[in-house]
């Protein structure tokens, strides 16, 4: 049978795979819907507000996408973020030296924790869910220990540090730029580098990946490290933005990150996923909660809607990513 060139064609393939990008249509739909009811929504200040709020969960979602694609799980991401945020503030960035430390040390910590997770799951082959469950407690406890159960805050920081969470570059908040840049780079790596392909192969079938010469433990390890770094970056930006943190910060963010990633179409079974879609997923969640605040809808309804979104998003993900029998 001759191979039909038509079906190899890029345009044909894009059209066929368009359903993987359903979340973008979802986004357009929601934006249209909301803007019908609200004049304020599409104003640039509001859009920046939404984007800024997306940053913290969004960056974690980027890292989470990698881990989920590798068919692993990370319940500790939120705790890592919390720890890094707290440490960032506790290092008191009031002069140049400490500002540098306030950025570098948390990233190192995030990397280290990612390394430990990656080691336990990738090399020792322990169950990712259970390991990161334990890690979450470990890290949370450590954070509480450091904060001593009190809020941590800092009034005045260096301009450089302040800039991280609050500054603007070409009129766009810096944190948003970081988010978008990270997003684009992560997706490029995923689609066009060897590592990205390895990630997908490992998530799809570990044994086949090993027999193709891929060092599976290393790939898994690297995905956890990436998530650790993302969580750290997210923590630093959060710390710089709010400059005041609760003692047990970070709890719950991993759930939001996973929700965003699932909404975006990443499969919990591994092997496929898209960072841009995860970002859109995070965006949609924030958009909806933000809008509800705009309309003064009480917090409890926000929660309920979040739950509903998750269900709908998962159903859509199942439907469009359906693995045909």
């Amino acid at each position: 049978m001759k191979i039909s060139r038509f079906q190899d064609n890029l345009i044909y393939r894009i059209i066929k795979n368009i359903k993987d990008y359903y979340i973008w249509f979802f986004l357009v739909g929601i934006v249209t819907l909301i803007s019908l009811f609200s004049d304020v929504f599409l104003q640039s200040s509001n859009i920046f507000n939404i984007l800024r709020e997306t940053v913290v969960v969004g960056i974690i979602a980027i890292g989470m996408t990698y881990v989920l694609i590798a068919h692993c799980f990370d319940l500790s991401a939120g705790a890592i973020m919390g720890l890094c945020a707290v440490i960032s503030i506790c290092l008191k960035p009031v002069n140049t030296m400490s500002t540098v430390l306030s950025v570098v040390i948390p990233i190192l910590i995030g990397t280290f924790i990612g390394l430990v997770n990656g080691f336990l799951v990738g090399y020792l082959r322990l169950n990712g869910f259970i390991v990161t469950l334990g890690m979450q407690f470990l890290i949370l406890g450590t954070t509480l220990l450091i904060t001593g159960g009190n809020q941590v805050f800092i009034y005045k920081t260096t301009d450089a540090y302040f800039f991280l969470g609050n500054g603007k570059l070409f009129g766009i908040p810096f944190s948003i730029i970081v988010l978008i840049l990270l997003c684009i780079i992560a997706q490029l790596v995923l689609s066009f580098t060897r590592f990205g392909q390895y990630l997908k192969l490992v998530g799809e079938n570990e044994k086949s990946a090993t027999l193709s010469g891929i060092k599976v433990p290393r790939v898994i390890n690297q995905s956890y490290i990436f998530l650790g770094i993302c969580a750290a970056i997210s923590g630093i930006i959060l710390a710089s933005w709010v400059r005041q943190l609760d003692p047990g910060s970070g709890v719950g963010y991993e759930f939001s990150a996973i929700t965003a990633t699932i909404l975006g179409g990443t499969s919990l079974l591994g092997g496929k996923g898209n960072v841009l879609n995860s970002f859109i997923g995070a965006l949609i969640i924030v958009m909806i909660t933000n809008t509800m605040m705009l309309f003064n809808i009480p917090y409890n309804y926000q929660l309920m809607v979040e739950g509903l979104i998750l269900i709908i998003g998962a159903i859509l993900g199942n439907y469009y990513g359906k693995k045909n029998k």
Partner: protein, 332 residues
Amino acid sequence: MKPKSLKNFLQYKSFILLAMLIFLASLLDKTFTTSANITNILQQIASNGIVSVGMTLVILTGGFDMSVGSTMALTGIVIMLMLKAGSNLFLAILCGVFVGVLTGLANGLLISKVKLSPFIATLATSTLSRGISFGVTNHRPVSVWNETFYQLATGSIGLIPISFLLFIVLAILTQIFISRTKLGHNIYIYGSNKEVGYAAGLNMDRTLILTYTISGFLASIGGLFLSSKLGTGSPVMAEDVALVCTTAVIIGGNRFHGNISSVKSMLRTVIGIFILGVLNNMLNLLGTMSYIQIIIRGLLVIIVIAVDSGVKEIRSTLVERIKLFFRRKDFE
């Protein structure tokens, strides 16, 4: 006779950890072994214990129930609200428990019919449930004094609190359910290979729905005792219960996959609950901060599964070596 009972005993290795902890605790602090303290421990572990019984079933099917915490909270709130409205205790409890059953049903349906993963489904119902909790209470806890209800939490028969008694009774009943009834045994079939269940004509969907419904029901009961103990129904109650109970079930020796039906899974969970309870108590007596307890809890989980997998490795190597040795001796 001897090797068999040894092999049986080894199915409950976590007991060794518990024994060590108890030993350590009694060494470190004299008050550990006082009757007052023991009653205290039993009191503390009861509500989470009840929830963990349900969680065990869910984990046996390879899933987990993130919604137990919010179910506990909502149940407490419903009971308090009804008491406040003047209803009798029995009706209030009935309504509270209904919440759990409903949530469990919803979870079961979402997972089996809508084909969502347990994580997503239970996370979603958890969020929904919390939202409702905040909504009906207007973000404020609800407290009503009711003598009988209070007795539930603090009452005891001799040294043993009623709540703990109920925990053990429920654990035993559930164990009988999964060992001796077809419906319960189907849970092991589901966890081992649900396709086989389908092929044999069993309704695996119904099994799953039943599992989550029981989990929801037991979470409700747990919430009942929790709010009775705290004297309040609050929307921010029981935030981390799901994770703590999962930890207990896992530390006790159950796993998401590969559970053997001849092992008493509930016994494992009970041991796990005791381990966490004794640990908590010991650290409290020593005056350590509660954060240390959280850290140790995390460490325990990781160590338990690491050791388990390490032991499996060593054990399989040993078994291989022994098999090879005997094969050389006699062929066929």
